[in-house]
């Protein structure tokens, strides 16, 4: 029987076995499956693994997540206060960097795999690996050094330091974040994650000017990824647009998979990537809250056909699916992605 991993490997080679890989980024929704509050759900790795497996069973998509919420990375740095909601993702409430002095004092944990804030994630990965390892791609989320400061000091203070602050202070922080990233990716790989989503909104020119992208984002990206290599790494810019930088990342860093934002033109993304890597067609999942199942289907059709028209090195994906999306829309989306993702249209080169 074809597994999700088979589909992904096929896609990376430009082939479709039965249908394209359908990636579905369901996170908080696991709490509902287990009948828990979001806060309780994220308190144990067993719950998150169970939630992921139940959703996999229920929806039949092609990936599972070891990510609880992005604020977990701040917890690895010592953040103790997370703001939980009943109907949305947890957020960092207390920033660990309050002043530039704190940057000097910031300690990168020695060993992430044994860090108390990683224990539950490790448990989750262990269960996922035992249950579906090798059959279903296990995803991990890792924030790039250029973007991590946003949850250590707030988006506001990071933008300020980046654009008008002292370059020495900025670089000291980036170096610590990059050292952290290198250890983090190693810990996740060792714990069984296959797909390493390199999350870097500060690697999109929606957020920063091209000059900053060239001077800083590219440089730190290379440094982050250099020791561990590019195996399984996906370039993801937080749902922002990717097209303007894709060529440079391919040429200068050589990442093998790209995740555009929902507001990128998928045909353009595919033409830029041009068979040199795998590329996702990404739905605007905020609209999944209100679209009818028919509207969802039409939108998925547009995206999937738009991608496959250019190349079969293509898969379908979502950004960070909001908690309130109706079940019927999730099902309509996945069914449509499988339905339209079968048609292998002739490439138009």
């Amino acid at each position: 029987m074809t597994t999700s991993m088979d589909r992904l490997v096929a896609a990376a080679n430009g082939q479709i076995i039965d249908h394209i890989p359908v990636f579905c980024n369901l996170l908080d929704q696991g709490a509902r499956e287990l009948g828990l509050s979001i806060e309780d759900y994220f308190s144990k790795g067993e719950y998150v693994a169970e939630g992921q497996l139940r959703m996999l069973e229920k929806y039949g998509h092609d990936n599972v997540w070891s990510l609880f919420y992005v604020g977990k990375e701040a917890e690895l740095f010592g953040c103790k206060k997370i703001c939980y909601a009943n109907d949305g993702p947890p957020n960092v409430e207390d920033f660990i960097i309050h002043s530039y002095d704190d940057i000097e004092k910031l300690q990168v944990p020695d060993d992430i795999s044994t860090h108390p804030a990683f224990v539950e994630t490790a448990k989750c990965l262990e269960i996922l690996k035992r249950e579906v390892g090798g059959k279903v791609p296990i995803c991990a989320y890792l924030t790039a050094s250029m973007s991590l400061p946003a949850i250590l000091m707030s988006m506001e203070k990071w933008m300020e330091l980046l654009m008008i602050g002292e370059p020495e202070v900025r670089d000291l922080l980036l170096e610590k974040c990059s050292n952290f990233f290198r250890k983090e990716i190693e810990a996740y790989r060792n714990a069984g994650a296959d797909i390493l989503v390199y999350a870097d909104p500060y690697g999109s020119t929606d957020i920063i000017p091209m000059r900053v992208f060239k001077e800083l984002s590219l440089k730190w990206m290379k440094r982050d990824l250099e020791p561990g290599g590019l195996e399984g790494v996906v370039y993801y810019v937080g749902g922002a647009r990717l097209n303007s930088v894709a060529e440079q990342v391919i040429n200068e860093v050589g990442i093998n998979a790209y995740y555009p934002g929902p507001l990128d033109d998928i045909g353009e993304s595919m033409r830029i990537v041009n068979n040199r890597a795998l590329c996702a067609g990404v739905i605007n999942d905020i609209r999944l809250l209100d679209w009818t199942p028919d509207e969802v289907r039409t939108e998925v059709q547009r995206i999937v056909q738009g991608g496959l028209q250019v190349s079969n090195k293509f898969f379908f994906g979502t950004v960070v699916m909001p908690y309130g999306i109706p079940d019927e829309n999730i099902k309509a989306m996945i069914n449509a992605a499988k339905e339209f993702g079968r048609l292998s249209l002739p490439a138009s080169d």
């Binding site: 949305g88 960092v92 980046l162 957020i207 000017p209 605007n284 905020i286």
Partner: protein, 221 residues
Amino acid sequence: MLDDVIKAYNEAVLDTDRALALQIVADAVAQGISPEDIVFKVVIPGLDLMVKAISEGFDTNLAQHFMTSQIAADVSERMLVLFKTPPEIVGQVIIGTAAGDLHTLGKRIVIGCLKAQMIEVTDLGVNVSAEKFVNEAVARKAQVIGVSAMMVHTARSENGALKVRQLLKERGLEHKIKLVVGGAPFRYDPELYKMVGADAWAENGVSALKVIMDCIKGVKA
């Protein structure tokens, strides 16, 4: 000469070069251009020009909005103390992030642009209750309440903009106070502002200025 200053200033701002923008202004003042002219003929038209360019499809990034707002607010603040007579305040705005939302950057960008335009802004901070938004707006005779939200659940929450609308309605304030919203979820769904009961929304910090200005004018008319 003023034309050259305007051109050079705008270029520096779009280039996110704060040091250069401030230098251009300092040189202009040294050469005899009045602080009033700097604000009303350089800074404010600069913002207007950017609003217009964006509405015509000019693509901008977040850092440009941050720097535009930062520089405009900075220059205005420096110039205001040098004014011969204090300028007329154009309007009053109350702003904060929605209940449950802790993200401050969007709000800060909007505030900078408003201040440069001689709009008085009260920043209520983060995680602001609907009651507080409305009470403060009444106390300060504000024409506009601005609610910023970065996540879907805070943008659509019953305790956020929706409740501000409900309170405005209950208290018969709808003709006096307009509700304007912004933040990432609104950019991914341009119709969302209506669903949460807002009168208007803006896609970015600089456009927020025009939208809020229009609301102030509407209330005052």
